[in-house]
């Protein structure tokens, strides 16, 4: 079986990429193939990259407070493109109060500050859709 492929993405204008890079390395060290987008990706760029790279999971990192706008846009576009086999997760400074509605709008899981990378790794392993 081929290794799990993950797209780690930074949407919007947020420049905080320590978390994204740390998680990307941790996933790689856990045996996954990781594509990191770099900063300032539009929703279209992220979804296109995910489809082209045939990833199993999109992991978005966001600390700028734009999560309520950008995360649902990503899940909507995935839906529009007819993609249902990619696990979509997010992490960053996202208040607990916002999480239920984000999950309703298509984000599978959200990891808040202090989450060990092992928790995210296990989650991806158990939840990819193939």
């Amino acid at each position: 079986m081929r290794p799990i492929r993950v797209l780690v993405a930074k949407p919007g204008l947020d420049g905080h990429d320590r978390g994204a890079k740390v998680i990307a390395r941790a996933l790689r060290d856990a045996g996954m193939e990781v594509i990191y987008t770099g900063l300032r990706q539009t929703v279209n760029q992220i979804v296109n990259a995910a489809i082209q790279e045939d990833v199993d999971c999109i992991a978005v990192s966001i600390l700028s407070g734009a999560h309520e706008t950008l995360l649902p846009k990503i899940s909507n576009l995935l839906k529009e493109e007819g993609v249902d086999d990619i696990l979509f997760i997010a992490g960053g400074v996202i208040p607990e109060d916002d999480i239920p509605s984000l999950k309703e709008r298509g984000v599978a899981e959200i990891f808040t500050p202090g989450t060990p990378t092992t928790v995210t790794i296990d989650y991806i392993k158990e939840n990819i859709r193939r």
Partner: protein, 558 residues
């Protein structure tokens, strides 16, 4: 610094002490095999004159306010004046931020510090596609001079000093500030404050770059030149280690990479034909304060000494003010935990002590809820009170550099200075900071340190109280500040109105003139000022420069 006979006796005594202690350890081992500082450097059991025997007090330590400034930038330090308590704030609209500033001033804040939202920091108007969802979130949205007039309404700009965290479009925001001051009847030579204007660390760690390295450096030297003639009391740059540290660097990397950036700015200005003593006194720095109190104090001392030596020896500065490193400090955001957020108040207190004992000129203290959301007014007040308690109750402000002479502090100061200098030499070999950044060297070093840190936390080698030890079951926090999404709509509507009502011919001409200036080597600042005054928007001005200069392409490495 020590008599030969004292040292040789001590050497004997120390040998016996080591043997005795090692023997005792067989029965009662220490808590750890090796002890590490916050930055992962080994710390010895005890420090003695033997660790600093090579030092010469007059050359290496000296007096506060005197070369090499190890003990402080000014002679009387915090006896003369307390540091400026400067709380970084700004969110949503100019009106709301204006209200927060007035509140902070009422509460005893002594300087303003403006946080701009990301679209403003990256030169996009609020109605730009990429601004969607970001307007007013991490700071205030400024689209034109109109917003800036509201932001400083009722705040006399000849009385306050204002720090603006703005980099790629620093010239535009400074021009708006000058224009607002003029409307208040305040001339530019009376303005005091700082623009961050440090693009190199944006490429390294913070991410709000626009243009490639070369034109960005030119914009910075244009500002140096313009301000030395027109806004002489303005700090034209705040060379920032803060974000480098937040991105995961060690203390020594924070000093080394920041000073390497500083060297690049000095070289760029010299190349542009400026005299070192004309601009160097207006260079200022910005550092982080983390939890390892003693290591942090040593870091500040090492940075001051290293900068002084470089300015004197490498750049031949004559004016002592050119050699004096003045710096702002912010407590370490990345050290705060989302778990048991009250514990963050304690962390911020330790970090405040570090900054003050390290001789800071101004300080922002983080609020306890910053790992969760934008800080609420109550938590901002507690953070400001933390500074006030340290200032007025702790007693550490009564004397300059009280930790000097500690064998550990002096030894650690030497160690950090040496390690930082090694990074600077490595960067020199790569062709200077801009080249080292384009090659991804600095980013890679920081990333390695960040990843090591994360692994230490996850293996519990590093204890973070409340997060990987002493956890409790917690309810999700409530009462977090949330920015109304209507802000984006409001800003967009205002831009439409502005564009209908302004003199569009004048805007067009001013932008054409700016474009021409960008294409030649003329100083762009007067043209930016002209454009701002006729209400050209930040996005329009930045777009003109994007057209001429192009955009930076990030080198992505893992």
């Amino acid at each position: 610094m020590f008599r030969e006979d004292v040292l040789s006796d001590l050497k004997e005594e120390k040998k016996k002490f080591d043997e005795k202690t090692e023997k005792l350890l067989e029965k009662r081992p220490e808590r750890k095999d090796v002890f590490y500082s916050g930055s992962g450097e080994e710390v010895k059991r005890v420090y003695t004159p033997l660790d600093i025997q090579e030092m010469n007090y007059n050359d290496d330590i000296g007096l506060p306010g005197e070369y090499p400034f190890t003990r402080g930038a000014y002679g009387s330090m915090h006896r003369g004046r307390l540091w400026t308590m400067r709380m970084y704030a700004g969110f949503a609209t100019a009106e709301e931020s204006n209200r927060r500033y007035k509140y902070l001033v009422e509460q005893g804040s002594s300087g303003l510090s403006v946080a701009f939202d990301l679209p403003t920091q990256i030169g996009y108007d609020s109605n730009h596609e990429l601004a969607n969802g970001e307007v007013g979130k991490v700071g205030v949205a400024i689209d034109s001079l109109k917003d800036m007039e509201v932001l400083f309404d009722g705040i006399p700009l000849d009385k306050v000093s204002t720090s603006m965290t703005i980099n790629a479009p620093a010239g535009v925001l400074l021009a708006m500030y000058i224009a607002v001051a003029e409307k208040q009847g305040v001339s530019p030579d009376k303005l005091r404050g700082t623009i961050q204007n440090d693009i190199l660390k944006e490429y390294i760690a913070r991410g709000t770059y626009i243009y490639p390295t070369k034109p960005s450096m030119r914009l910075i030297t244009d500002i140096f030149e313009y301000c030395s003639e027109n806004v002489p009391k303005w700090n034209t740059i705040s060379i920032s280690g803060y974000h480098i540290r937040e991105a995961g660097s060690t203390a020594a990397q924070e000093v080394g990479f920041t000073i390497a950036d500083g060297i690049a700015y000095v070289e760029a200005a010299l190349e542009a034909g400026l005299d070192v003593d004309a601009f160097a006194p207006r260079l200022s720095f910005f550092f982080n304060a983390h939890n390892d109190l003693l290591e942090e104090v040593a870091k500040f001392r090492a940075a001051r000494r290293l900068w002084a030596k470089i300015m004197k020896e490498r750049f031949g500065a004559k004016n002592p003010k050119s050699m004096t490193m003045k710096f702002h400090t912010q407590t370490g955001g990345s050290t705060l935990t989302a778990q048991q957020p009250e514990n963050n108040i304690v962390r911020v207190t330790i970090q405040t002590l570090a900054a003050v004992l390290g001789g800071t000129q101004s300080l922002h203290t983080n609020s306890k809820d910053e790992a969760l959301a934008l800080p609420s007014e109550d938590s901002v007040r507690t953070a400001l009170r933390t500074q006030q308690v340290v200032a007025h109750e702790s007693g550490i402000t009564n004397t300059a550099d009280p930790l000097a002479g500690s064998y550990f502090i002096e030894s650690k100061t030497n160690e950090i200075e040496k390690a930082a200098l090694e990074y600077i030499e490595k960067i020199d070999d790569l062709g200077g900071a801009p080249e080292a950044i384009n090659k991804g060297y600095i980013q890679q070093e920081i990333m390695d340190a960040a990843y090591n840190y994360q692994k230490e936390v996850e293996t519990n080698e590093r204890v973070i109280v409340g997060m990987n030890k002493f956890q409790i079951d917690e309810k999700p926090p409530t009462g977090l500040l949330k920015v109304d999404p209507a802000v984006e709509e409001k800003q967009t509507k205002q831009i439409d109105e502005l564009k209908e009502n302004r003199d569009s011919k004048a805007v067009e001409t001013s932008l054409e003139d700016l474009k021409k200036a960008c294409e030649t080597d003329e100083n762009v600042m007067p043209y930016i000022l002209k454009a701002v005054k006729v209400y050209a928007t930040l996005g329009e001005i930045s777009d003109v420069m994007r057209e001429v200069f192009g955009e930076y392409q990030q080198s992505v490495k893992l």
